[in-house]
Structures are given as structure tokens and as C-alpha cells.
Amino acid sequence: MFYREAGDFKTSYEADSQTFPIAFDRWRYWAILAVAYLVIPFVINDYWASALLVPFLIYAIASIGLNILVGYCGQVSLGTGGFMAVGAYACYKLMTSFPDVSIVVHVLLAGGITAMVGTAFGLPSLRIKGFYLAVATLAAQFFLVWLFNKVAWFYNYSASGQINAPERFVFGVPVTGANTSAPAQYLVCLVFLTFCALLARNLTRGTVGRSWMAIRDMDIAAEIIGVNPLKAKLTAFAVSSFFIGIAGALFFSVYLGAVEVGEAFGIQKSFLVLFMVIIGGLGSIFGSFAGAAFLVILPVALKVVGVDLLGWPTDLVAHLQLVIVGGLIMFFLIKEPHGLAQLWRLAKEKLRLWPFPY
């Protein structure tokens, strides 16, 4: 009824190639942005920010990044945790070496540094494929974590081996350090997420994105029709690592404030982000959001139900949580291997016809 192309006349090339061709989608998009920017910052409190919203925003950036690599370019990576660590440590070194430069610049630069590291670790992908590549990216994961643990220069020779984010300001408001308010944290992450999502969405629609998808669907065929696999794979690694680096930098500086590398950026983090991408839907920007939201909310919801409502001991709930998360992942993969994004697509198809059955 309200969700269809009919009657929505495109009169220019810009209108014809816009991101959301259906009017309802455009309204929805602006409405969500309005709520995210104009409503939530005024009602947010510390609990909501630190338990749900800020991790959601940061993981959404990371899973958009990983989705570009795994979902769009078909190169499975298990090194996400390691690349996030690169982002975090790059951000830390930049913050402490150049205290006068804005944190926003530092986060972007950290993303750039991560992109370079990611490209270097992406080089083997030209020779290695499939699971061999997935395992090979574990080399990045373990090597990088070891490096940040062993080389004292990275954590400025601090006795604890931790890195702590010094206080930095954006427009005079503290966004890192102990005095950060919940809305500030939230807004910084939101701005970066919006930027990343727009960038990813437009990259994947353009030439680069199409060459990624060609490589994903069949790399030899893509090479024959003129896609340069070296360029496509390495740009995918670079762009993906750029996003993951930004996520890592924000995770350390804005969200946690203090980080111990093995704990925050271990192999578990790699799996977590990969789960978000798979549950959300491979090759879908919306899926990255949905997957991140699902896996951020689920543990919190389980804890609320188990510990607060039923009064069970925390360790028992933690074990149950493993069972339920694992079970749900298997359930989802069986019922909907293409993720939450596929459910969304189906819903939109239905909505197009509604209220008629055919």
C-alpha cells in the first residue's frame, strides 16, 4: 500500500541511482537518523550507554568492516581482534605522541594504519583460499596480540602493560577519559558509525564493490572478465581493516578507556564479530547492524532474566548463556543461513504486495 515504487517518479539520474529507491525507505532512514541524533542523546543514561548502545555502535562499525571482507569479497578472516588491537594501539600512540591534534583525526589515522597492516596480512590471500586463508589470518591475530604484549614501546613502558586513554575533547566536551558523559560517548561513536555506513554502502554499490562481489562469486571467472584480483582483494582487506581499526580505536579510547590486549582483543573478539556478520547476513550492511544489535542485546537480556529475575548464581547464568548463544547460533544457521537480513528482505517483499496476497 505504502511500500512500493509505483507513483514515485524519478526525474533525474541522481534520483534514479539513489541509495533507497522506495519513498518509504527514505522516510524510515531519515526517521531513524533523527531519533538516533535528536532523541536518544537526551534520554540516554550511563547504564544504557555502557551496556548496550555504545558497544552496539562500535561493533556495528567492526561488523560492517568484516562484512566487506567476508560478505562482499568472500575472504574469510579470523584476525578481527588483532586488527582492532592495531587500531587501539595506533590510536593510543597517536594520542600520547601528539596531544594537540584532535581525537577524531587520531581515530581516522588509526584506521589508516590498520588498513596498512591489514593489507600486509591480506597479501597471502592472493595465493591461499578458503579455510586455509581463514586459518592463515589467525597468524595475524596471535602475532599482533603477542607483539602488543611484548614490545613495551607500544604501551609506553607502563608497568601494568595496559594502555589508558588520556582525556581528550571534541568541541570542548570530553569524549575520552574518566569524565566522559554518556551522550558524548554515544554521539562520537554514532558520528563515526554514520560515516562508515555511508562509505560502505556507497563503496559496495560502485565499481570497487562490484569487483569484490565478482571475486567472491568466482575469482577465476572474475579474473578472466578483467577484474584485477590483486587490486580487488587488497582493497577489500584495506577498507575492511580501516573500519575495524576505527572500531578498535573507539573501543579502546571512548568505550573502555583502559585495555589489556589479550583480554580485550583476543580470539574471542574475532569470533564474536564474525558471528555478528553471519547472523546478521553476509553481504548486507543492514545485516551488520542487525547482527551487532542481536549479539550485544542477547547476553544482557539473558543476564537480566537469569540473575535479576530468577535469582540464579552468576556463574550458572554465564554457563547457561554459553549454551543459549551456541544453541541460537546453530538454530539460526539451520533456519535461516542467510541471516537476519534475509528475514528483512522477505518482510519487504511481503510488504510490497500487502494487503493483497499476490
Binding site: F142, N149, L274, F275, L316, L322
Partner: protein, 332 residues
């Protein structure tokens, strides 16, 4: 011979023994990957679960006692009996076979024909699930596994070899447990090879590994073979779990040996049993030797965490299918 050289040899021998244990875990991966194309990340957790179950049964713990106590408000912990080791191992095997059946019945039967990455993710989900179940059933505290395996260095080897070097050399230090593990692993591998070559089920298993459709058309039940393969992987996991558990206690970190087995697989090739063994030995020796010669003196130690991966990575750049893997031929 100088003492340094002899210590180098000792490092190599210990590396070989560690490699045997890596190979043991890698073997479980290869079995499942060959027969069903599933890259089973849960192998490490299966080892943990098997070891936990073995300890739990031996000590007569009540399964899920923690959960039961929380729901019903009771205070039960154990049955008050102790089960002899052999019987407990048998019972654990039955549990692992039941687990194999359940996995096939409830998960992978529904995922036939999906992409490998989806299957892989499902096994990661399975790993989480199984880890949670293991903790719920038997508790998450560190347990010691006492089934009478010898521990400590072998004095016999030490005395026998002490004459080789000069004054600075006191003989090779070799853990008795590692020696037992090597023997057990050898027996297990020979057993598996005999099973695969000479029994009907073993041949059916190889047929399935070769070609699913052809195997189906000559009347082999894929379902049965997959349950069989998962059960065999469960057996391998039990052996690996017992060996690692006796070495370092039964605890969560046991499941991380799966990560140790991955570079072994890459090096040896995902589809080759000899590859898993050779890969295990190469990785075991390589990482110990690297740590001894370069890692500890120059790089600050703990290089064992990543060296195996780097070795495998560099190796793969030159030979993308691993040492013994099948050559991939791609057509458009």
C-alpha cells in the same frame, strides 16, 4: 659432543613429543573434514568435554547438580561412589557416541548442502554450546585427572644418556607422560588405519570421503557414516583430552588446543591423515626449536603462540594446499 648441541637435541625430542599431541587433535579434524566437508572447530571443546565427563564419572558427580540445586533448592553434589578408570572410559565413550548421534540428528542433518563457511560457523556455535553444557554438567573448576598415567621426568632415560656429554650435561629430560602419549597416539593411528583399510564400515567411510553421491548410489548410508565419523572424532578427542588433561589439569584452556591444531592442519593439508601427523611433528619441533634458539634469547619468549601460524602461513604461500593436501583444480 658439546652440551649445547645435546640440549638442542633434547629440545627436538620434546618438540616431537608435543607434536604428537598436536597431531592427535588434528587427526580428529581431518576425520570429520574428509568425510563430511565440515571444518569442525568444536574438536578442542570435544576434548575438554570428554575429559570433563571422564573425571565427572570417575568421581561419581551428579550431572547438572549446580543447575538442579539452583532450581530445586537442593544440596546434591555426588553419588558417593567412585568408578574405576576403565569402566569410566567406556562410559565416556558411550556419551561421546551419543553426542555424535545428537550432533548429526539435530544439527548437521539440517545443514547438508550449505556452504562450508556456514557449516564452520555452526561448529563454532556447537563449541560454545558444548562448553556451556560441559560446565553446567560438571562445574567449571579445575579438575585433576588421575587415571594412573605416569608423571614426571624419566630417570631411566636421564641416566642412560648422561654419559653422552661432558661435565655440563646431565642427560635428556623427557616427560614419562609424553612417552606414554606417543605410544598411545601411535596405537590409535595404526588402529584407525587398520579400521579404514580392512573393515566394511571403514571402507564405507573412505567411499563417502571420496564421493558422496557415488557412495549413496551403492547403498551406503551417509547418515550412519557421519555419526560414525563424529564418534571416531569423539574417541580421538577423548584420547587427546586425557593426555592434555593429565598434563595440565582439566580446565577451559584445554579447549584451546584446537587452535594449536589449526596450523598443523594447514601444514599437512586438511584432508590427509599422514599430513596431520607429519604436520604435528614439524610444528612441535619447529616451535620448540624456534623458542630455544631465537624466541627466548632475542624476542622475549612466548613465541610459541604465533610461530606455528607464521610457519604455516609462509609455507602455504609456496604450497597452497599443504604438504599432503589434494591439489585444487579450479574450472570456470
Amino acid at each position: 659432543m658439546s652440551a649445547d648441541f645435546l640440549y638442542g637435541i633434547e629440545v627436538i625430542i620434546n618438540g616431537l613429543m608435543a607434536g604428537v599431541l598436536y597431531a592427535l587433535v588434528a587427526l580428529g579434524f581431518v576425520l570429520i573434514f574428509k568425510a563430511s566437508g565440515i571444518f569442525n572447530y568444536a574438536q578442542g571443546v570435544m576434548a575438554l568435554f570428554a575429559a570433563l565427563t571422564l573425571v565427572g564419572i570417575m568421581e561419581g558427580q551428579v550431572p547438572f547438580s549446580h543447575l538442579i540445586n539452583a532450581i530445586l533448592g537442593t544440596e546434591i553434589h555426588d553419588f558417593g561412589w567412585e568408578v574405576p578408570a576403565l569402566l569410566a572410559i567406556l562410559l565416556t565413550l558411550i556419551v561421546m557416541v551419543g553426542f555424535a548421534w545428537a550432533v548429526q540428528q539435530f544439527v548437521f542433518r539440517h545443514l547438508v548442502g550449505q556452504e562450508p563457511i556456514i557449516l564452520f560457523m555452526a561448529t563454532i556455535g556447537l563449541a560454545y554450546f558444548l562448553e556451556g553444557v560441559g560446565d553446567l554438567m560438571w562445574g567449571s573448576d579445575i579438575k585433576t585427572l588421575a587415571i594412573g598415567l605416569p608423571q614426571g621426568g624419566s630417570i631411566w632415560v636421564e641416566e642412560f644418556t648422561s654419559g653422552l656429554g661432558g661435565d655440563g650435561f646431565y642427560g635428556f629430560f623427557i616427560d614419562k607422560l609424553d612417552m606414554v602419549a606417543t605410544i598411545v597416539a601411535a596405537v590409535l593411528v595404526i588402529g584407525l588405519i587398520v579400521f579404514a583399510q580392512y573393515t566394511k564400515q571403514g571402507r564405507a567411510m573412505r567411499a563417502v570421503a571420496d564421493d558422496h553421491q557415488a557412495a549413496l548410489s551403492v547403498g551406503i548410508s551417509l547418515n550412519f557414516i557421519w555419526v560414525l565419523v563424529w564418534s571416531l572424532a569423539g574417541l580421538v578427542a577423548l584420547v587427546a583430552g586425557v593426555m592434555w588433561g593429565a598434563k595440565s589439569g582439566v580446565q577451559f584452556s584445554l579447549s584451546l588446543i584446537a587452535l594449536k591444531a589449526l596450523p598443523v592442519l594447514m601444514l599437512g593439508g586438511f584432508t590427509s591423515i599422514p599430513g596431520a601427523i607429519v604436520g604435528g611433528l614439524v610444528i612441535g619441533v619447529g616451535e620448540k626449536l624456534f623458542e630455544y634458539t631465537i624466541g627466548a634469547p632475542f624476542l622475549g619468549g612466548a613465541t610459541e603462540n604465533w610461530f606455528a601460524y607464521m610457519l604455516a602461513l609462509i609455507f602455504l604461500v609456496f604450497r597452497p594446499q599443504g604438504l599432503f593436501g589434494e591439489k585444487m583444480i579450479e574450472r570456470v
